[in-house]
């Protein structure tokens, strides 16, 4: 990076909004994934105009840009793979407008997901997408990755809750897409930009849809002596036309680790637990809960606990929500995978994942969104051992390939980023890539925004690669 760009950025934003010392930059070289990529400079804009000016400056200096929220992503989406300028939205964190009557809020990208709900819950409203990191992840990152969460089973992922966006394009132009109310006219650009992983534009303002809290919530914990029984229960819940708000599974290995740490009351000798939540009017939640209990019993659940009040409900969720922390006690690093399968194929998929674990010599836990077939196998390894990381990645690839073979997808909510861009060829043909590349180039023709993400870079895909900047003569 040139000294003149640094000087220009400091002059634009003030020195307190620019980081460029190595020890500062190291804090921004990783996210929640196993990937790394260090920026050359980190900047903190306060306004959309700041963002536009930063983008123009970077373009002038031919330096790539990557946007970043809280850095909780799990696919390397917010890492500076090609170095360059990292725009961190932490200081654009204001809720600009709340329209309770029409169930809309206008927020800056650095607002933390859960803070939206906190701001409106007194009025009986909330923001539905609830990724596990919702206490720290930002809405800008959620939009970029089209984040999910346990309750997306009934309510959909982030895109279903976004009405409009303000964006800064790679040439610094500020545009608005979508419509705060009703449908926008023309192509659904908002639907295109959500989930484009920061490769088309930077999001600077988001109009979210607020959902109304349900009148009743019933939370059940079903305990099984065989993983297959739990899997068959999930498939039958779906097949019976019951739509839970959430349907989560922890396998025996995981629940024992969690129980030792969280004391959520999971029997240590069980093979799997299902956490099922039903919402709606009292009359609907009650009946559906009874039906779910019936399905669980049909599939030999050892026990079904129904939370009697909010305290018991929180206890049941405690084990699920703190699971990743618990796993940290077993190994220095855990690699959380994200694949999707048709939910009717859960039993065979879980068996196969265990076989892959055995083949590579890893213990693989499963804690995942069973209701929509969104698997999160967790590979525990020691990141200080380079060979272990290699093996973990190989095991992960084999699992993801298997998901795709079953008719599933590479990622259900974590995004492609730089974790799975080389695996994209499992799902997409050359024609698919060619079109995606043309759409990419229509907005980001020089690949100055988030280069090296989503599209495969490997030589075999030379024709379909998106021009990643020549890692910009980076000084690393």
């Amino acid at each position: 990076m040139t000294a003149s760009l640094l000087r220009d950025l400091k002059s634009l934003l003030g020195p307190s909004n620019v980081l460029h010392q190595k020890e500062d930059l190291m804090l921004y070289e990783y996210d929640g994934s196993v990937e790394k990529g260090r920026p050359d400079v980190v900047v903190f804009p306060h306004t959309t105009e700041d963002v536009s000016r930063i983008v123009k400056l970077a373009a002038k200096h031919h330096v790539p840009i990557v946007g970043r929220g809280a850095g909780t992503g799990l696919s390397g989406g917010a890492l500076a793979r090609g170095g360059g300028v990292m725009i961190v939205f932490a200081r654009m964190n204001r809720i600009l407008e709340i329209d309770l009557e029409n169930q809309r809020a206008v927020v800056q990208p650095g607002v933390v997901n859960l803070d939206i709900t906190s701001a409106v819950e007194k009025a009986g409203l909330y923001f539905a997408p609830d990724p596990s990191s919702q206490k720290s992840c930002t809405i800008g990152g959620n939009v970029a990755e089209n984040a999910g969460g346990p309750h997306t089973l009934a309510y959909g992922v982030t895109v279903n809750h976004i009405a409009a966006l303000e964006l800064v394009l790679p040439d610094g132009e500020i545009v608005r897409v979508g419509s705060k109310h009703g449908d926008s006219s023309g192509y659904d650009l908002c639907g295109l930009f959500v989930g484009s992983e920061g490769t088309l534009a930077l999001v600077t303002e988001i109009t979210v849809k607020l959902a109304r809290k349900p009148e009743a919530v019933k939370t059940l914990l079903a305990i099984f002596d065989a993983v297959d029984d739990a899997s068959l229960t999930v498939a039958e819940i779906t097949a019976r036309g019951i739509t839970p708000a959430a349907c989560e599974m922890l396998d025996g290995w995981t629940l024992r680790v969690v129980e030792d740490y969280v004391h959520a009351g999971f029997p240590r000798d069980s093979a799997a637990v299902l956490l099922v939540e039903l919402e709606g009017l009292h009359e609907a939640a009650e009946t559906q809960a009874e039906a779910v209990v019936d399905v669980c019993r049909t599939h030999c659940a050892r026990e079904v606990r129904v939370a009697k009040d909010e305290r018991e409900r929180e206890l049941l969720w405690k084990g699920r929500k703190n699971a990743f922390g618990a796993l940290g006690r077993l190994a220095p690093t855990n690699y959380v995978l994200d694949g999707v399968i048709p939910r009717s194929k859960l039993p065979q998929a879980l068996q196969h994942i265990q076989e892959i674990g055995k083949k590579y010599g890893f213990a693989i836990g499963n804690i995942f969104h069973a209701g929509d077939g969104n698997l999160h196998p967790i590979v525990l390894y020691d990141s200080r051992d380079a060979k272990a990381l290699e093996k973990a990645i190989a095991a992960s690839e084999e699992i993801i390939r298997y998901c795709v073979d079953l008719g599933g997808a590479l990622t259900g909510e974590h995004g492609v980023g730089m974790e799975k861009n080389e695996l994209m060829t499992l799902m997409f043909s050359e024609a698919d890539f060619d079109l995606m590349r043309r759409v990419h180039d229509a907005f980001n023709p020089d690949s100055s925004l988030n280069p090296g993400k989503v599209f495969p870079l490997s030589k075999g895909c030379g024709e379909i690669r998106v021009k990643a900047k020549d890692m910009m003569g980076s000084n690393r």
Binding site: N146, S184, G191, T243, D432
Partner: protein
């Protein structure tokens, strides 16, 4: 000459039986009075790709059609050489009832699909006008509202993937067949409402929904718009899950009553009294339906309804079915009709008065229908599509557009006399994002083969 040559070349591609260039047949594929030179009916995505590659090599314009029930949405095509009759692609490719997912060819009729899903106690909430004839591809490409959007949203909320042929004549896909998937760009979302201007849709993947055990409906009427809107706000704030919640003006009620009468269906009392009406339908188990019915009656009482009529199953099906077809009967309500879909932050009594004032100022009769949040159908009924009457319709359109712009909303044209549609200056600049949309169009269809000029802004 073009016709004879083109037909021969197309016959060379897919065989003589799939190509029609008989002059009498062509007008049935016309768009706003413009007929194609030939009609071709492919039977697979590969055949579609072949036709598109041929069109690309010859520089010919293609309009893909399903049942042709909504071809008048959008602008007249700037060029139109080949009509691609997609009804030959009409199979269910995959239906995984246990997963609640479906992959279906674009030319599959919605009614036929409905029957197949009902066998597994499921449905697709794509309840669009012209339901009896519409194809699934046409319904998505038209972007027209489903009457169930209050509860199920728009196609954007349940379309999970697509296969289509792009402007280079290659078969592409996006999304997949699982309900949760963030792999790659969501290009399939762009196809919704694209009026066939981006690609030829060959297959669509959806999540399906379980059919409810029972359903019910109420028609509630009010002297003024205030009461109807207060009722609507109240039931929404109470979080009552309603599959349908429509508010309509006395003008709409009168048109609807006349149609029900002519169809020899019973006419609910509330439609006959020159009142503002709210139709609320709901579904679930018996306890849920009974509870919602009680609550609706209580809200009706609290908001000063003059009438709150529970509808028996047949009356409910008939009224719900008619409201699904609203686009169809509104656009034929008078000899010359202007029908706009207006998106506004809030449809208040004040907005209603402003819209009524516009009608009055232009000596026009009219009606409104509020469907889901922020979506209003605005109807202006003219006497003729010529001369001063047409000018008054044009003035009405301009006035509504000005009003919606002032209120940070916008208005989209659904129907107008051809002479008015052709006055392109009214519709120009319909969207500030036209330059972004042009980039998308260019990416999908670099040569501009697909329905050129049909989309807003000349795309």
């Amino acid at each position: 000459m073009l016709t004879a040559n083109l037909a021969a070349k197309l016959q060379g591609l897919l065989g003589a039986t799939r190509v029609t260039a008989v002059e009498d047949a062509l007008p049935s594929f016309a768009v706003d009075g413009i007929s194609p030179a030939a009609i071709i009916q492919p039977a697979s995505a590969e055949e579609v790709a072949e036709v598109v590659r041929f069109a690309a090599s010859e520089g010919l314009a293609i309009v893909s059609c399903g049942s042709r029930s909504k071809l008048e949405l959008g602008m007249p095509p700037a060029r139109y050489d080949i009509a691609l009759d997609m009804t030959g692609l009409c199979r269910i490719a995959h239906y995984d009832a246990g997963d609640l997912t479906l992959s279906v060819d674009a030319g599959m009729p919605l009614r036929q699909l409905e029957q197949a899903l009902a066998e597994k106690q499921q449905f697709l909430p794509l309840a669009v006008p012209c339901f009896e004839t519409s194809t699934v591809g046409g319904a998505v490409a038209s972007g027209i509202d489903s009457v169930l959007r209050q509860q199920y949203g728009t196609a954007r909320d349940f379309l999970i993937g697509a296969e289509f042929v792009d402007g280079t004549g290659r078969i592409c896909k996006s999304g997949g067949r699982v309900v949760k998937n963030v792999t790659g760009y969501d290009l399939h979302k762009l196809l919704i409402g694209s009026l066939g201007t981006l690609c030829v849709i060959t297959r669509l993947n959806f999540r399906t929904f379980p059919l409810a055990q029972v359903s019910g409906g109420h028609l509630v009427s009010f002297v003024g718009v205030d009461g109807a809107l207060a009722f609507r706000r109240g039931v929404e704030a109470a979080g009552l899950p309603l599959s349908n919640l429509e508010v309509f003006s006395p003008g709409t009620a009168a048109i609807l009553a006349a149609i029900l009468r002519s169809a020899k269906s019973g006419v609910p009392l509330g439609l006959e009294q020159g009142r503002w009406c709210v139709y609320a339908s709901h579904e679930g188990n018996t306890a849920v339906v009974e509870r919602i019915s009680r609550e609706l009656e209580k809200f009706a009482h609290d908001t000063g309804a003059t009438n709150c009529e529970p509808l028996d199953q047949s009356a409910d099906e008939s009224l719900g079915g008619m409201l699904r077809e609203a686009f169809e009967w509104l656009r034929f309500a008078s000899p010359a009709v202007l029908l706009l879909r207006v998106a506004l932050p809030e449809f208040s009594a004040e907005v209603s008065a402003d819209l009524s004032d516009i009608l009055k100022a232009n000596s026009m009769r009219g009606a409104f229908l509020l469907r889901a949040r922020g979506v209003v159908y605005f109807l202006a009924q003219g006497d003729s599509d010529e001369g001063a009457a047409l000018d008054r319709l044009e003035k009405t359109a301009r006035d509504v557009r000005r009003l919606t712009a002032e209120k940070q909303g916008h208005a989209t044209l659904l129907h107008a006399p051809l002479a008015l549609k052709s006055r392109a200056s009214i519709w120009a600049g319909a969207d500030e994002n036209i330059s972004l949309m042009r980039r998308v169009k260019q990416a999908f269809d670099p040569q501009g083969l697909f329905a050129p000029g049909r989309f807003w802004g000349g795309l």
